[in-house]
Symmetry: C2
């Protein structure tokens, strides 16, 4: 193979690092890939760090120690996260999204790849230090955002089901009171998680926190610690709040038929 | 801003292009970003094309015409796609995955971000010319792979539900015969798709094609054309085949309790 130029090395390193967020690549990995010296790769990393910072393309960190190397985290990716979330709020305010019964249609937003990737990345940015072993969500609408959060954190996604499924093997089943007061059930395959792990709960909407409290109870059954809870959208002042300490990307203060939705990005998003 | 060096431009362009697969960026976009001449950006693109080809990082294409520019497609991303899928087959053969009743546990594989991204990218690589407007899947297990397919194609994901949900608005509901012979139902929000669009169906498992045929019937109700059908795993010789023309990543020839699973990558994967 011909000698690889710095130009080319930087392009390849960018691609490799950003394609596997939060994964630590050793410098030797790149030395082997390019048949080049460690000092050269170190210089490459320094240039990349500076460039990513300048263009707000995320954070490149060098990790020291035996398992050390270089790691990319998609933190501060959008020129403005607030602008990105404000753009989604704008979509939510579009007329016609209010459904009979005071429900909001936003399934389309929750399954548009560019939007869920941005949202998942933003959620992940708040939990790099939470040391979660997996992201937990409850089927169905929250799955895409939860998956993108898991991808940015490089941990698996675990999906709780409304009922036990034959193809999930033996499961733990619990009953919980939903935000609207009805009794619902939730099931999770026994083999999906391990005792002592840490879960990050990600879901699409919080009315009062009933489903999230259900997920917390479910985790208790598995002896799993809940390391954080984050929603895409949450009611700002629920009539009855069942959980605390949660985060949300967007806060909804009112849903009244015929009036524009009162929704805004959460304060922590800058 | 100081003059941006080629090194830095290439790193930034790689990041921007690969983060938005299948999106056409005009050369002017990069000229503005770097305050540089079009001829310089053209040279940058040529270098990137060559580098991505050499390191098998995907395809960079220049698109001519009024809406022209440069577009990245994650085609041929893994050093070997076959090796990647063979690795997943290996996981599927692990003892203990066979469940009572002849079911296979692979929910964990279907929600591990690195694996579903690789699988979704590989599925997408077969459908860039199918001109699909959206990816359709049926809740729940296929959602992560379908989302990653949609992301690589830069089109929305649409999720059919088992039953109508209040927060999906008015919906079309159909009944269909599942692979096991039972009557099931499937619902899709009226506003989720538009008449005349083209759907790419992606799902996790094909036993006989019952659910896929249900999705095809559902699309007929919406006057939507099915542009392709792809599964993660399909039974190689189903007792009763209800659809044809489908693709799959992996083929399962036998599932017998107590014996290792007979599964292999499909022939089209090289």
């Amino acid at each position: 193979m011909d000698k690889i130029k710095r130009n080319e090395r930087l392009a390849v390193m960018t691609q490799v690092l950003t394609a596997s967020p939060n994964h630590i690549f050793t410098l030797s990995y790149f030395c082997d890939l390019f048949s080049t010296a460690k000092s050269t790769v170190s210089e490459d990393v320094a240039i990349l760090q500076q460039t990513m910072k300048q263009f707000r393309l995320g954070q490149l960190e060098t990790v020291t120690g035996a398992a050390g190397g270089v790691r990319y985290r998609p933190i501060g990716m959008h020129s403005s996260s607030r602008e990105f979330i404000e753009g989604i709020c704008e979509k939510l305010r579009e007329p016609g999204r209010m459904l009979p019964g005071g429900y909001l249609y936003f399934s389309d937003i929750l399954s548009t790849p560019e939007l869920v990737q941005g949202m998942g990345t933003l959620i992940a940015s708040q939990y790099y230090h939470a040391n979660a072993d997996f992201v937990l969500t409850m089927e169905t609408k929250g799955i895409p955002v939860a998956l993108m959060t898991a991808q940015a954190l490089r941990i698996p996604l675990v999906i709780a089901r409304r009922a036990t499924k034959v193809y999930e093997g033996s499961a733990v089943n619990i009953s919980y009171v939903s935000g609207s007061g009805s009794i619902e059930s939730m099931a999770l395959s026994r083999r999906a998680v391990k005792e002592g792990q840490r879960a990050l709960i990600v879901d699409d909407f919080m009315r009062g926190g009933g489903t999230a409290r259900g997920m917390m109870e479910l985790m208790k059954e598995f002896s799993v610690t809940v390391a954080g809870i984050c929603f895409v959208l949450a009611l700002e002042e629920p009539k009855k709040r069942l959980i605390e300490g949660e985060k949300a990307l967007m806060l909804l203060s009112d849903m009244r038929d015929g009036e524009p939705l009162s929704v805004r990005p959460a304060d922590w998003i800058v």
